[in-house]
Amino acid sequence: MSSQTPDTRKPDVIVIGSGLHGCSTALHLSMRGVKVLVLEKDHVARHASGVNAGGVRQLGRHVAEVPLTVASMALWHRIGELVDDDCGFESHGQLKVAESEAELAGLEARAAELRALGFGHEEVIGQAELRALVPAIADHCVGALISRGDGAAIPFRTTFAFRRKAIALGARFEEGAGVARVSRSGGVWSVETTAGDRHEAPVLVNCAGAWADRIAAQLGEPVPLEVIAPMLMITARVPPFIKPVVGAAGRTLSFKQFPNGTVLIGGGLLGHAVRDENRTELDFSQVSVNARTVWDLFPVMRGATIVRSWAGIEARMPDQIPVIGPSGTQPGVFHAFGFSAHGFQLGPIVGRITADLITAGATDLPIDAFRIGRFAA
């Protein structure tokens, strides 16, 4: 790097944050020949992108996210072509189980709502098919909503693969470089880092996750971002018994078995995030509720051994959908954050959308619902 002159290293775009969305943005921009510098306060995939449940899920999303999730799923099914790594992605479907006829009716209404919007990826299945797909499910479950193209991937490996491919295409990453101050002069953004460096670029992308509100506030557009710590736990290996990822209609659950036999249990029950210390605390009364749900839905799991539990630090917006799109107050600034504990599957497409916005000024996917201005008083 020292052999290069400073001029050739000057980026066109500075991306703040190297979670999956920052890495994906860097990748899509690099694919178009844009020079990208990614600034990361810790290390790549240190927080939500590295420790989430890895669900690659279209099922049950907010209707505003449905066009994006469908487009992202197309990318997931060819993820190896995008990042030269299969990211551990496996597609055995995701289902949401109904424990009563009333819950099943609710799932039928949901499927009908999506069909009316022109999307057919969510279908209701009855008890017989549920049992065929998930033989271990408890007897009282009456049916489920299924999205057959869904699946799961390995989060850290995925984010790392996006980073690796972006670097291969010319992107630069600086780890241990938190953003101390952002300012603008002469049509150029200047970012001072906690490492003491200063970087300039005409375009800035805010992918700072649970810290994105601090960047947005510096840009004069504060957002009501809540810092949360969704908890997960994992079992020792058990013989393979389930392929799809299973959730529940009436309870908080995400349940899946990895190819190595370990079972991941989560779904969004919250611990406590200590954002300024990069730390989370677990709440075992909540973990216990999660364990109870598994006890009820998967009797076969009652003797399983829990070997570890953890929580990641994530951003949640009041309306549970992310902020994606241009700044409402500043030229040359774009946001992609606040994925509210379900951003992993959207990673591949959101990077493309942001790259579209930067290089073409528009995107072909509907993102109006995600504009940052929705929080302006």
Binding site: A45, G50, T252, S285, Q286, V289, A291, V294
Partner: protein
Amino acid sequence: MSDRAMSAPDFDLAVIGSGPAGLAAAALAAGRGLSTVLLDEQPEAGGQIYRAITDTPVRDRRVLGPDYWHGAELLGPLRDSGAAHWPGSTVWSVARPREDRPGDRRLQIGLSRDGAARMLSVRHVLMATGALERPFPIPGWTLPGVLGAGAAQILLKTSGLVPSGRVVLAGTGPLLWLLAWQYLRAGAALDAILDTTPRANWRAALPLLPAFLRSPYLGKGAKLLLEVRRKVKVVDGVTELRAEGEGKLAAVVYRRGDGAEQRIAADTLLLHHGVVPNLNLANATGCAQQWDETQRCWRPTTDSWGATSVEGVSLAGDGAGIGGALAAEQAGRIAALDVLHRLGRIDRAARDRAAVPHREALERALRGRQFLDTLYRPADVFRAPADDTIVCRCEEITAGAVREAVRLGCSGPNQAKSFLRCGMGPCQGRLCGPTVTEVIAAERGVSPAEVGYYRLRPPVKPITLAELAALPKTEADIDAVLKH
């Protein structure tokens, strides 16, 4: 706020671990009026060093030796102190609950006992979690027939078991020689001891010899070494080591420097190159830790009273840095005095006064320690093994895979964990953490202090889903998570 948080804590003090530090601390604290519970996962008190001290079948006292039987002297004071003793209690979490109020600092302990999990609330936690054997990864160390010398010694203490067939000991450090001596006393035959102590260590240790000459270890150690060397073939200066066999150990292969490879047929290979602090619980509790270059290990950061960076959590004994059983006992008493002070039972002056004899005894017990640390520092090649050696046994990750992850951009154990799953198995890094740190540091050409250690998470010991599901929950806990 739950009723649980409003009521009085279950105990003033929980001491976790009933080795020398825990036994001495619990006895002192309870004897001076703190309501104290001593928790330990084993069925009997004693920890690893005094394992099975109450019921070992090895009744001939000459076999395990007087240092072992000293442990029995710690049991009477514990019984007389009135401390509650809960053996068979596996602690899997220590945390400060969120509804904590200023002025009512308390900690919540998650533990399993008799197949049921429960939460225990206390005002102070004193961790006396002791030491673990430093992982000794060589090619073939996962073969049946290869085990740690410490594990073998536990079998001797608890069951009077000595290995049959052809037995080889390999490595470095006092425990290796002690075990050999105990086996000989118990009538076992040893085929060879392969000493991996690097020759250069002698030069480094020599300046520290004067302190060692005044240490309590000297006389005992020299006698023991001589006796073992007289009776067993000892090969010094071993620089390469591997275990071979199909499905189980058949031979130990070794080399000395540039010499030819040698092969010894063996049914049992006992490996040892020192112990490191068992820091998993402190780490998962959020206690700050530091790299100890002399002992070549991570240890939780403590002040001279054993207080950690987490308020209400102290640490005593080998879990805070290796000092041996006699030092641990004194450190336990010193930490207990500080707890008495922190909980308002004695003032600072009384604490300091009472600690004086224990500090003197501690200093005596630590005399010569640096000499041992330096002399028995394991060789680089055994701390950061060759590429084809498995380092993470749970996930079968090799040293080569860790090095490859470093080349791809993993800069520390946590990234390697996320990338490779090493350290994610049931042992929570106990068997690979020190090695992964060393391999990454060597590959990057930096100190282990810079690459860090795993962030560990509760449960630090596995618990069953059934136990977890049965933890007491309030209606509010359940309502809070129903979606509608």
